[in-house]
């Protein structure tokens, strides 16, 4: 390696940018993951000075813990529900705002994006009010159509409360993916659509045979992104809206981790749940990628 050469200077230049970020990445992302794996092998309360090594006992206990299975089920339910809900609505809005030629398209684009800008916590509190049985918007609205006042406890169902967490999650997520898909659709040359409409293809046909294949890459990315952010981030909306209740029916793995680690003083067990989330995310990513594999159609 000769100092002072162009190659050396270029490498130095590149390194100056990469190394600090890489260090931060290692310290704040890789190290906590390794620490979590380390703590998952211990029985530790989270605040005492000593911890006992118990090997894989935490994981064995997880197999027998019914709430973990409820959590996994809820997590995947949210993943599936969000993927279907967000992709359908985001695609529809994206196509509507680009292909249907509205005049107010830009205005609607900003409006639909606003929920994404609002913090998830605010969204949780907002929907808590909407679902409130006494003063909530939903019940007041439904009461317009019924004789007696509607007072359904939307977040108090015996076992299906998790369904009520889908609307806020979908509502919050549409904007970002819609923008992504709008950008993708705008990358498709107009000539394709002109040619097809000359040959008599309607909107649906154009969508099915031109738009969809050409934006498939972006849709794939969106689906993977939704899955990953849900497995990790559904914790916030669950904690704010239901605290995992009633009776642990809306627990997701993230909220159960928090409860076990910080409220019930089983930090090792919480760390084990964290490792579980990591493993499940990786497996699901691989599976989804396999399922969605399709040759990329290049625009020549």
């Amino acid at each position: 390696m000769k100092l002072g050469t162009n190659a050396w200077q270029r490498n130095l230049f590149i390194a100056t940018f990469i190394i600090p970020t890489f260090l931060f990445f290692c310290v704040f992302t890789v190290y906590p993951v390794l620490q979590a794996m380390y703590y998952s092998l211990y029985d530790w309360s989270g605040s005492s000075d000593n911890k006992t090594f118990i090997g894989l006992d935490n994981f064995k206990e997880m197999l027998h813990d019914p709430i973990i299975w409820i959590g996994m089920g809820n997590d995947y339910f949210l993943v599936a529900g969000k993927i279907i809900g967000i992709m359908i609505l985001a695609t529809f809005f994206a196509v509507a705002l680009t292909r249907f030629k509205f005049r107010l398209a830009n205005f609607f684009r900003s409006i639909f994006f606003i929920p994404n800008v609002i913090s998830v916590v605010v969204i949780g509190v907002l929907w808590n009010f909407i679902y409130n049985p006494q003063i909530g918007f939903l019940n007041s609205f439904l009461s317009l159509f019924t004789k007696d006042k509607v007072d359904i406890t939307w977040l108090g169902f015996t076992s299906h409360t998790i369904w009520m967490l889908l609307p806020p999650a979908i509502w919050a997520g549409i904007g970002f993916y819609m923008i992504l898909l709008i950008a993708a659709i705008q990358g498709i040359p107009e000539s394709y659509y002109e040619a097809s409409s000359l040959e008599g293809a309607g909107q649906w046909h154009q969508f099915r045979h031109i738009t969809l294949p050409l934006i498939w890459e972006q849709m794939k990315v969106s689906i993977l992104n939704i899955m990953m952010t849900t497995l990790n981030g559904s914790f916030v909306i669950v904690m704010i809206m239901t605290n995992g209740g009633p009776d642990n029916t809306t627990q997701v793995m993230g909220s159960y981790l928090y409860q076990m680690a910080f409220t019930q003083y089983h930090f090792g067990y919480g760390a084990a749940i964290g490792v579980l989330i990591l493993v499940l995310s990786m497996i699901t990513t691989v599976i989804l990628q396999r399922l969605m594999r399709q040759e990329t159609i290049e625009i020549s």
């Binding site: 100056t16 605040s47 409130n132 049985p133 209740g245």
Partner: protein, 460 residues
């Protein structure tokens, strides 16, 4: 030209390295009421360079020096008393550098310091995510058993003589001292009841009777917070268990010790069936299951519901939202049978000294300072809650519900349940089960089964 480009690029890179480090300084999170915040765990807290421990072993008239740090949670009781008493302590000890760390999230903020073995000297154990039983098990609190035997306050009275409730014993030892004496109970609006001609409840039968009347008048009798089931557990279930157990409180202490036989006593089933009775008669507000404490309290204040299980911090917590003319009526328990004794399920908020405290002398002196009779009235006035210090507060300007509560607590006919901390897992199981019971998902027998299963695991 090339040189200038290189210089620009290198300085940009240097900036990128330095800029994030600036963010590494004290990350100030959102609490509003704290003053000096010691929460930046990356910077080391000031260690004593001069000798902080005074070599003489007299009481607090000697000069205290060095640093002294206090951690206190700010919740329904506010922080007025803390600020006043710390200011008074500072004035009495001008050479002592007193640092106070207080706020609604202080327990979470200070947690890294406790974990890292560098805790504050003095801690007020209250609020979420801080459990004295757990702290004792983790070896974080100083053993005060011997000190308590002879400790006197600044007036010369023995501290153990003026405590209304003695410290909870962990394996026979004392680790924390109760400062605030609170009671769970049921609240109503005296003014509303007078206006509608509803009788104030004295026992279970009168409670059910007046609830029938209330329901007929179109108001829901009872609301609670389903998000935090420990409210209904504390104010209804546990007193009911004691009443059904012939006013013998040892059953609760056995439950706190996670003894399986305690949960299988018939008194527990009797108590659970009272909640079932409330549920089946339609007295419980349907919205309860999904709302939190402030929502339930707001509905109570707006007269949508007549009764609410809560603690004595309620009037203070909702002070800004209480409508004019509202007058808090309070009784520690309604679950006793006709002619039975009132059961006061007390909860205390305790103070303790950290095992790894650096200035234990100052901490002990502070204990002597705050456990004086003058502080009983001062606490009641500034926080709106009864103090654990025995003292006649009837002449103080404490709010009337506090004086009422103090009356119940000192009445010889009241069964006073000393403060009890359950194991965290068992507590959660009981809370989940009560929630499920109130919405009809499980039966009382299943409640017992669930909790017994968890108790068995914990006792192992």
């Amino acid at each position: 030209m090339m040189f200038k480009r290189h210089l620009a690029a290198l300085s940009l890179a240097a900036l990128m390295i330095v800029a994030p480090l600036a963010g590494c300084g004290s990350k100030d999170s959102s609490t509003s009421t704290k003053t000096e915040d010691a929460s930046s765990s990356t910077t080391a807290t000031t260690t004593n360079t001069d000798s902080s421990s005074n070599t003489t072993t007299d009481d607090s008239t000697k000069k205290l020096t060095g640093d002294f740090e206090i951690q206190y949670f700010v919740g329904g009781y506010g922080d007025k008393w803390w600020k006043k008493v710390i200011a008074d302590f500072k004035a009495a000890n001008p050479d002592l550098n007193v640092k106070e760390s207080g706020g609604p999230k202080i327990n979470d903020q200070m947690k890294p310091r406790w974990v890292g073995g560098n805790p504050p000297d003095f801690v007020y154990i209250d609020g979420p995510n801080l459990n004295d039983r757990q702290m004792v098990e983790d070896g974080q609190l100083e053993d005060l058993t011997d000190w308590m035997k002879d400790a006197t306050n600044i007036d010369g009275t023995k501290i153990s003589d003026i405590l209304a409730q003695p410290p909870q014993l962990f394996d026979g030892k004392v680790y924390d001292i109760p400062l605030v004496l609170n009671s769970w109970g049921v609240f109503w609006d005296k003014a509303l009841f007078q206006e509608k001609g509803w009788e104030e409840p004295k026992d279970w039968q009168s409670f059910l009777a007046v609830s029938d009347k209330i329901k007929a008048a179109g108001v829901t009798p009872f609301i609670h917070t389903g998000k935090y089931p420990y409210y209904i557990n504390g104010a209804i279930l546990y007193p009911a268990i004691v009443s059904a157990n012939n006013n013998d409180i040892s059953i609760l202490q056995d439950m706190a010790d996670s003894k399986v036989e305690a949960f299988q006593q018939p008194a527990v089933l009797t108590a659970l069936n009272k909640i079932v009775e409330l549920r089946d008669k339609g007295f419980i507000d349907k919205a309860s299951i999904q709302i939190n404490h402030t929502d339930s309290q707001m509905l109570f204040l707006q007269h949508k519901d007549a009764f609410i299980p809560n603690g004595l911090w309620l009037p203070n917590e909702m002070a800004k939202d209480v409508p004019g003319g509202f007058s808090f009526g309070f009784i520690p328990s309604v679950t006793q049978d006709s002619g039975g004794k009132v059961v006061a399920n007390t909860s205390t908020a305790n103070v303790a000294i950290a095992k790894n405290a650096k200035n234990k002398e100052a901490a002990k002196a502070f204990l002597q300072f705050i456990f004086s009779e003058a502080q009983a009235s001062q606490w009641a006035e500034l926080s709106g809650a009864p103090s654990n210090i025995k003292g006649d507060i009837s002449s103080s300007s404490a709010p009337s519900h506090v004086k009422d509560a103090a009356r119940y607590l000192t009445d010889s006919n009241t069964v006073v349940v000393p403060s009890i901390t359950f194991n965290a897992d068992v507590d959660k199981a009981m809370q989940d089960a009560t929630d499920a019971l109130t919405i009809g998902k499980i039966t009382p027998e299943e409640w017992v089964q669930r909790v017994v299963d968890v108790a068995k695991k914990v006792k192992k």
